[in-house]
């Protein structure tokens, strides 16, 4: 019975994101100004824009990480699939379905294995064989099973920065999220690690929706299907990536992109 309920709830989180007229205030400061955006499922959507324009803030609205900020007020409608995520839902269940990868790799000070098993364990999976399977599968998805299979019991903090970030992705994948939010996941990494993560995005979008914040125009152009350009808390332009980069409609977008492409 209970199991049934859970499944229903789980099933009801879709993979598309629909935002209508969203605004957000940090105390008195308005960081997001009535943004509306439709993010399609199983595509990579990139958020670009200058520093402080509210990309991370909007991203964190999707898994309600902003709840942790004192004095943060949010208005507007946020739908994932057709679930109103600011309505009566279990936030932890939401975050299970909407995974997040942060700018700086933040592996827990535990072994590689325990890092990945942390999420599944949180949701009640304790059987060793099951966990083994999840760990292997997640690491394979993150394309690092071969690298790590012999050091599963070593501390995750001993990995290189790029490995740590991919481990964090594997950790997020272990709870099988339907949407993966990535906030500048490669900004702290070298070009080779960055390339690996970009390949990963391509692979992952077969099963999950990906929203990625990036400061790197080439990266956005390379990996995303849709791109949104933000400025001072507003969504200036949002369209297919090709369109944004070849024929932007808004003058500000064009300036930003050409300026950045150099």
């Amino acid at each position: 019975m209970k199991e049934n309920q859970k499944n229903q709830l789980e099933a009801s989180f879709g993979q598309s994101i629909s935002v209508k007229d969203a605004s957000l205030w940090y105390s008195d400061f308005q960081a997001i100004k009535s943004i509306s955006i439709e993010i399609p499922e199983k595509k990579v959507t990139a958020f670009i824009g200058p520093s402080g324009c509210g990309k991370s803030t909007l991203l964190k609205c999707f898994n309600r990480m902003n709840d942790l900020v004192q004095g943060c007020k949010i208005t507007g409608e946020f739908l994932i699939g057709d679930v109103d995520i600011y309505g009566k839902i279990d936030v932890n269940e939401l975050r299970k379905n909407v995974g997040m990868v942060f700018q700086k790799p933040n592996p827990f000070p535990m072994s590689v294995y325990d890092n990945i098993a942390y999420g599944p364990r949180t949701f009640g999976i304790h059987k060793r064989s099951e966990l083994d399977e999840i760990v292997e599968e997640s690491l394979k998805q993150a394309a690092m099973w071969e690298e790590l299979k012999d050091r599963l019991n070593k501390s995750a903090l001993g990995l290189s920065g790029g490995q740590q970030q991919r481990l964090c992705i594997a950790r997020a994948l272990a709870v099988k999220p339907k949407i993966l939010l990535m906030d500048e996941p490669t900004s702290a990494l070298d070009p080779i690690s960055t390339g690996k993560i970009e390949e990963l995005c391509d692979e992952l979008k077969k099963t999950a929706t990906i929203v990625i914040v990036t400061h790197n125009m080439q990266q956005a152009a390379r990996i995303s299907d849709y791109t949104g350009f933000f400025l001072l808390g507003e969504l200036v332009e949002y369209a297919e990536t090709d369109e944004i980069f070849t024929s932007p409609k808004d003058e500000r977008t064009e300036k930003y992109i050409t300026g950045r492409f150099g």
Partner: protein, 615 residues
């Protein structure tokens, strides 16, 4: 899903409960001390009690009958004041210069060793200081004294050494917090190192240094056992360096064991007066150190300092003549600072070498002192029962204090809204708890736990008493460690859908473990060192191994106090002191190591990787 919510709620409640216990403890201490002393204040009269200069209690005095004895504690208030001033003159001055030495003159290589020495000084139990006083200082002083050497001078010296670590470590922190640019600015102008230190750096740290001295005063006011052992203890004014006198703390310890009704009330009242003094001092400390911290953070004085540095440089340019006096005084300061640093090292070496030289032979020739079977009236005493009692108090008090302390810290750091009223009250309570003198804890334990558990002192009552004492340290260091855990880890856990409780228990707390563990080990050392709070809550008789925790018994520290008072067990006393020192210093060093090692392990095999590369 709902069960998860219930768990979250339960966790929160539990953590808040820990915090509530801190508040309740403080309230209980105040309420019980005041209720128990009120009849005495009433009977004797507050004015006569505080300003009366005759203390001659009558055991038969009750609240119903007319008083036959006299109950004035002004001689003892004076005694406390005089010995505190004495301690400040010796330990304060020495500590001040030692801190300057450590920060500005100590060779880089020696710095870690010097800091360890200062830490070790603070770890030595007060009975050991007192014992050192009896065994070394008094015989030395008696050569120039009309008496056995006890009195104000001996007390001031011992107290002075005891407050040294407090003064040194806080002053050192204050001096290190002075921005380097001040130093650079001054030296760039052409001022010498020493001139810069004494004219720019030290004045900039003045607030912190004063705060350290005030905290030192607080320590000296509340110190009991060491004082009892060297002060002489007659209830008279401290009229000369070698005249016997008594402090408020000594008064409580000396008479609590056999006090009549009014006398007991008057002793508790003495505790209340003492507590008031200490609270005022702590309040001053908090005010001053807050100001200083703000000062360092906001640095409103920067312009002032720059102006000062400029004036100073002008003077130098005008020609050395006009300020040669000042430079000279700085030179003297440099010499004094260096001498102080060396003196402090010598003092510690002297205490340890003296006690080891006297005590080790006994331990080697009569090892049965440690493990032998206890026999009543036997010549061959053993400290085995005391060791067992000590272990029991350590275990029970930690079992109580550690969970409560950790719960409180979690509540403060993870749940409480900053600066909410409840949080302020909890922090206030913890501040007060950390300032309450240990003898006052003893009084409190005696009138509460001992009464509850059958009227006689027991291991349980002693443990409960000490566990309250331990709370502030455990709360503070756990909170510090939790603060040190990067928020990104918490975010990562929450973003995976873990609840707050799970995030705290599985991610935040494990990362804070090194800090918590070293606090726990330090607490073990603290319990082993304490004697004043245990004397009357746990008992002071060295007897057979206790059969249960409702029995009493002396711990090692209390046993040392007993043995040193009875002249015929002096060798055993030395040996006990050696055991105590080894235990406490060992624990201090161990705590440091554990903190470091665990931290390294938590940081991962990063080091391992490095070492592999180099291999």
């Amino acid at each position: 899903m709902t069960s998860a919510k219930i768990k979250e709620r339960l966790g929160r409640t539990l953590f808040a409960f820990g915090a509530a216990i801190c508040i309740i403890s403080v309230l209980a201490i105040f309420v019980f001390l005041i209720v128990k002393s009120a009849p005495a204040f009433n009977k004797i009269g507050i004015f006569d009690f505080i300003f009366g200069n005759k203390w001659a209690p009558q055991g038969s005095d009750t609240y119903e009958s007319a008083l036959k004895g006299s109950y004035g504690i002004f001689t003892m208030i004076s005694g406390t004041a005089a010995s505190t001033v004495g301690a400040l003159l010796i330990g304060g001055v020495l500590g001040y210069f030692t801190a300057i030495f450590l920060v500005f003159y100590c060779p880089q290589k020696l710095k870690p060793i010097a800091s360890t020495i200062i830490n070790l000084l603070s770890g030595i139990p007060s009975v050991v200081y007192g014992f050192f006083g009896i065994a070394f200082l008094l015989p030395l002083l008696s050569k120039m004294a009309p008496n056995n050497g006890s009195g104000l001078l001996a007390t001031s010296i011992i107290l002075g050494v005891m407050i040294l670590p407090t003064v040194v470590s806080l002053s050192k922190t204050a001096l290190e917090a002075v921005p380097n640019q001040y130093y650079d600015g001054s030296v760039a102008i052409g001022a010498s190192h020493t001139a810069t230190v004494f004219k720019i750096m030290v004045p900039s740290a003045r607030g912190g240094i004063i705060a350290s001295l005030i905290l030192g005063i607080g320590r000296a006011l509340g110190e009991t056992m060491a004082v009892v052992m060297v002060a002489g203890n007659s209830p008279t004014y401290p009229s000369g360096l070698f005249n016997s006198f008594r402090t408020m703390t000594a008064n409580i310890v000396l008479e609590m064991g056999y006090a009549g009704q009014v006398q007991e009330g008057a002793l508790i009242a003495t505790g209340v007066v003492l507590l008031m003094f200490v609270l005022i001092i702590n309040l001053m400390f908090n005010l001053i150190s807050r100001k200083t911290v703000d000062g360092i953070v906001k640095r409103p004085k920067e312009s002032k300092l720059k102006a000062k540095a400029f004036l100073f440089s002008q003077k130098i340019k005008e020609g050395a003549g006009s300020i040669s006096y000042k430079i000279k005084s700085s030179k003297i300061g440099e010499a004094v600072a260096k001498a102080s640093g060396i003196a402090v090292a010598l003092i510690l070496a002297m205490i340890i070498v003296f006690i080891f030289v006297k005590g080790l032979p006994t331990l080697v020739t009569k090892p049965q002192l440690i493990y032998g079977k206890f026999e009543f009236g036997s010549e061959n005493i053993t400290i085995l029962p005391a060791i067992i009692c000590t272990v029991l108090v350590v275990i029970i008090s930690l079992l109580i204090a550690v969970p409560i302390g950790i719960m409180t810290a979690i509540f403060l750091n993870e749940y409480a809204k900053r600066e909410s009223v409840f949080v302020r009250i909890v922090r206030g309570a913890i501040n007060i708890l950390s300032g309450v003198p240990s003898i006052v804890y003893g009084l409190f334990g005696m009138i509460t736990f001992v009464k509850i558990f059958g009227g006689s002192a027991s291991i349980l009552s002693g443990s409960l008493t000490v566990s309250i004492m331990l709370l502030p340290t455990i709360v503070r260091s756990t909170e510090e460690s939790l603060k040190g855990v990067s928020n990104s880890l918490r975010e990562a856990s929450l973003a995976l859908g873990a609840g707050k409780l799970r995030t705290i228990l599985k991610v935040a707390l494990p990362s804070a473990l090194p800090g918590i563990l070293s606090a726990v080990i330090l607490s073990i050392g603290r319990v082993i060192s304490e004697s004043a709070p245990l004397l009357y809550t746990m008992g002071s008789v060295i007897k057979a191994v206790p059969k249960g925790i409702l029995e009493g018994g002396a711990t090692l520290a209390v046993a040392l106090y007993q043995l040193s008072g009875e002249g015929w067990y002096i060798n055993e006393a030395y040996a006990t002191a050696v055991v105590l020192i080894i235990l406490v210093l060992g624990l201090n060093i161990f705590a440091e190591q554990v903190g470091k090692t665990l931290n390294r392990r938590l940081k991962g095999d990063a080091n391992e990787r490095k070492s592999k590369k180099s291999a």
